[in-house]
Amino acid sequence: MLNIQDLHVSVEDKAILKGINLQVAAGEVHAIMGPNGSGKSTLSHVLAGRPGYEVTAGSIQWQGQDLLAMSIEDRARSGIFLAFQYPVEIPGVSNIYLLKAALNAARRHRGLNEIDAMDFLGTVKEKIRSLNLDESFLYRGVNEGFSGGEKKRNEILQMAILEPLLCILDETDSGLDIDALKIVAEGVNALRSSDRSFLMVTHYQRLLDYIRPDHVHVLAHGRIIRSGGPELALELEAQGYGWINSPDAGA
């Protein structure tokens, strides 16, 4: 589904990613862990297509296509979803308008008709209840005045409506208390299926208590220095990131 080969990325001429190799198959859940500044967020932003990141070498294949040649919106429409670490507030544009516009953009991309307004409202109301959000959220400006936890739940709501194939969660657990974390994790787990993959970028292990990954990768100094199963996350939790002390550790 996703195949990253020898990916090198620079930001303002500074090398951040220095040769990432990662394969994600359909239905898999991967966790990318690592200390601050290791390049975790860069990886998720490059996948979504954020401007300002220069790919200096390597390739990314997405469903057999060259991802790096695709526009941001086409990546989204073809099923890549980035849940932002800091979701953006857009006053004056309602949540429900954005949800509908995004869903219809994806549907048009797949050659489907725009969704029926009543069907859409029904689906949205069901999903919003499962995320323990109030219905009034739909009619408020996108993320406007939302608390940190509400913003993260709103990201999961968008994800639940858009039903992407690859969900990238960028530090989704940051700033969440334990109750909000559980709700978010339940929302994510409800979306797990054999054709949907997840890439969870996180600093801490605690999110992985609730969303069990198939694979854990440790990213440091722009490279994946270790990969393993869920037990690797526990090991990191016990040891911290202190053992990663030089750019060449484990390489």
């Binding site: 953006v88 857009i90 006053p91 309602s94 308008y97 995004a102 994806a106 009034s136 996108v142």
Partner: protein, 438 residues
């Protein structure tokens, strides 16, 4: 002598203006004319007009071309119906003259709602609602000398109007400048919601100058929304509001400048103890349009509050001007004042001049102000793109949201819904598209 002053003298000398048969009112008109002739119109040496291109209006040509000739009420209604609020009271003025057949003046216990000409011709009224102040500039003197009509509203104590009143001004021809004079007196504990809609269907440049005097007695409240409906570049409109807000009164003003060649809104509010006011506005300019907002709020007594919030979007070679000044008098302790101006420059040629000013002579106050002028937020654009929305649409959506967020604070549900729908049309969105809870 410039053309506008000459026209003003001719108009007053003809002696056919409303109420001119009364010596007292004619005296006011003559005296205003004399001041105008002596001092002329303000120019860029005056701080309030420093950034304005209003000087060019003084010699504008008024075509004799008939413009859109609208015969009869039915033909006029075709223009009015898209901008009418269903169920609202209405007062319609065409080129500065009251159009009774298209109007349904508000009716209520203790309410007088009448056009100015009718009010002045009524022999029972000896009241002359035309206070002038020493620092009134030339445009206000011209208005005093030449006003042809307007609205008079007098609400007695306790009079509360359920339905809003819509005042519609239509410019159909550009034969002469139009001077409108309104007077609103809100008795104690009275309440009215007003929407002023301005529409231009003429074929050449028009000029409208409106002055509104507002008195709010104790605990009265008044909400006024002004909506410049048309996006044509023929309309030049200068408006001046003078508000005396009595103790515990509430005044809210929302101004939406969506088009026009030169639009200017001057607002002067004087707040007594525990009075509160909010003045909010939106301008969206393009081509060589100019939209100016000039504000003076005086806290004359303790415990009053004022809130000022303006959003501006300037595209192409247009210009937006915000001059806000809050003056807190030496006895006005416990004043709360906040003034914010947020602006987006959408082109290299556009210009925005934003000057917030706080002048505080009291010790115990909470005052804040802020101004920002910038471009659209690239992070927000990326956020929308990452949801599958292409950049041009994302940009359009952000601009619409920025504009639309100024409708949120409109208290009256029907007015808010109407303004949102009109704004959506103007922004070429489907009317329901913002989806914000009405």
């Amino acid at each position: 002598m410039n053309r506008l002053v000459t026209l003003a003298r001719e108009t007053v000398q003809q002696g056919a203006l409303p109420g001119q048969s009364r010596a007292d009112l004619d005296g006011l008109r003559q005296s205003a004319l004399a001041t105008l002739e002596a001092h002329g119109f303000p120019d860029s040496r005056s701080e309030a007009f420093r950034y304005s291109r209003s000087k060019r209006l003084e010699n504008m040509a008024f075509a004799d071309a008939p413009g859109a000739v609208v015969e009869g009420a039915t033909a006029m209604e075709a223009y009015l119906s898209p901008i009418r609020i269903p169920g609202a009271w209405s007062m319609v003025f065409v080129d500065g003259h009251y159009h009774a057949a298209c109007s349904t003046p508000a009716v209520g216990d203790g309410l007088l709602c009448q056009n100015m000409t009718g009010f002045l011709e009524d022999k029972r009224n000896d009241y002359l609602p035309f206070p002038m102040e020493a620092d009134d500039h030339g445009w206000m003197q011209a208005n005093q000398a030449c006003f042809s009509d307007g609205v008079v509203i007098m609400a007695e104590a306790g009079c509360r109007l359920e339905q809003p009143l819509q005042i519609i001004h239509v410019s159909t021809r550009a034969a002469a400048p139009v001077y409108v004079r309104n007077h609103i007196h809100m008795g104690a504990d009275s309440h009215i919601d007003i929407l002023e809609s301005w529409l231009d269907i003429s074929s050449s440049a028009t000029l409208v100058n409106a002055v509104t005097d507002i008195q709010l007695d104790d605990h009265a409240s008044l909400n006024i929304v002004r909506l410049d409906e048309d996006d044509r570049i023929l309309a030049n409109r200068l408006a001046h509001q003078r508000i005396h807000a009595g103790t515990h009164s509430t005044y809210r003003q929302h101004t939406f400048h969506l088009g026009g060649s030169l639009l200017r809104q001057e607002t002067h509010i004087q707040l007594q103890q525990h009075a509160s006011c909010s003045t909010e506005g939106l301008f969206m300019t393009r081509d060589r349009q100019e939209s100016g907002h000039q504000l003076l709020i005086e806290h004359k007594a303790p415990d009053a509050s004022s809130q000022v919030r303006y959003h501006g979007l300037a595209d192409q070679a247009s210009r937006g001007i915000f001059q806000g000044r809050i003056l807190v008098g030496s006895h006005a302790d416990r004043t709360v004042a906040d003034m914010q101006s947020k602006n987006l420059l959408l082109s290299d040629q556009a210009e925005i001049d934003a000057m917030p000013q706080l002048e505080i002579h009291a010790d115990d106050v909470r005052c804040a102000h802020g101004v920002s002028i910038g471009q659209l937020d690239e992070t927000a654009i990326f956020y929308l793109e990452s949801r599958g929305i292409a950049r041009p649409e994302a940009v359009r959506l952000l601009m619409a949201g920025f504009a639309n967020s100024m409708t949120d604070p409109i208290v009256h549900h029907g007015l808010r819904t109407h303004v949102r729908a009109r704004l959506a049309v103007h922004l070429q969105f489907a009317p329901e598209s913002f989806g914000l809870k009405p």
